[in-house]
Symmetry: C2
Subunit: 148 residues, 2 copies
DNA sequence: CATATACCTACTATGTCAATAGGTATTTAT
DNA sequence: ATAAATACCTATTGACATAGTAGGTATATG
């Protein structure tokens, strides 16, 4: 399954912000774009969406930037999905035109709804802080590199 | 999460074929398209893909059509996915350009790979026959309608 | 006052999706 | 033999989404 770069970049930005705002300072788009090798102009479209969803807070002006909008324990993967991608947690549209046997509706109930529920449950159970810890455990070296 | 109409139509066709070839006769594209209200010309692009994957067998010529290529117990949802959609069970591409902290790779391992594994496990555990039974149990009336 | 920042809107190039269209080869029924 | 119905193949199209690019405005800070 393919995840859009919007979501991927948004998640990377969230992690970057979480790590680099620990000292109390805001993290600017420029910093994130440089560190994570993401187009700055593209990021500038993504971050306001995360802000509108309440996941980050913005500070305008010189020395401004972003911080988390709530504790990392309360930022869910599902929130990121919903903020950045209309379709990823959306269920299939209701069947357009049914044939004789309502087969389409049956497939919808038996399969797509279950698949979407699985995905949704996973995303609702995954917090940013959990994710940070998981990544950290994977590689101390990697973690050090984040902080540098 | 959105599933392509190719996959949806392919699945509907499989079910239709399974049901209507029980008497030993082949099921033609025309029949399926009519019953399920799917564009016939579009179906004509989908069914050969299912045949190449071994899920159905084709019989050319007058009175020809399709039958299952193997018992319904051995037809997996994952097979349908793989036959009709390159991306649905494909993992994310390997990260293009890593920033300082290999964050992208970490996100890949911690999230996308898990999500894909969940989906893949579900799809590999779901057989066509299971699905037929589930649909049947949902509504006797619906089932009758299939068979008519 | 200069600068660095968030934020906003428009544009573009590329690709994918969902069909549509027309034609060929093959098998069966008559 | 012939006609009809079928699978199969290839090309084309219109709409839409994706992944950016570009330029400009408002705002807070030093």
């Amino acid at each position: 399954m393919r995840v859009s770069t919007r979501v991927e970049y948004g998640l990377m930005a969230l992690v970057d912000i979480a790590i680099h705002s620990e000292n109390g300072e805001s993290v600017s788009t420029t910093e994130i774009a440089d560190r994570q090798k993401i187009s700055q102009k593209y990021l500038e479209q993504i971050l306001p969406q995360l802000r509108q969803a309440g996941l980050i807070k913005a500070q305008k002006g010189l020395r401004g930037g972003y911080r988390l909008g709530k504790p990392a324990e309360e930022v869910l993967l599902a929130d990121v999905f919903n903020a950045l991608d209309d379709s990823i947690l959306a269920e299939m549209e209701s069947p357009r035109e049914e044939g004789d046997g309502a087969l389409r509706g049956c497939i919808n109930e038996c399969l797509w709804e279950k698949i979407n529920k699985n995905l949704s449950d996973f995303a609702k159970g995954k917090t940013l802080s959990e994710f940070l810890i998981e990544c950290r455990n994977k590689s101390i070296r990697g973690w050090d590199m984040y902080v540098i």
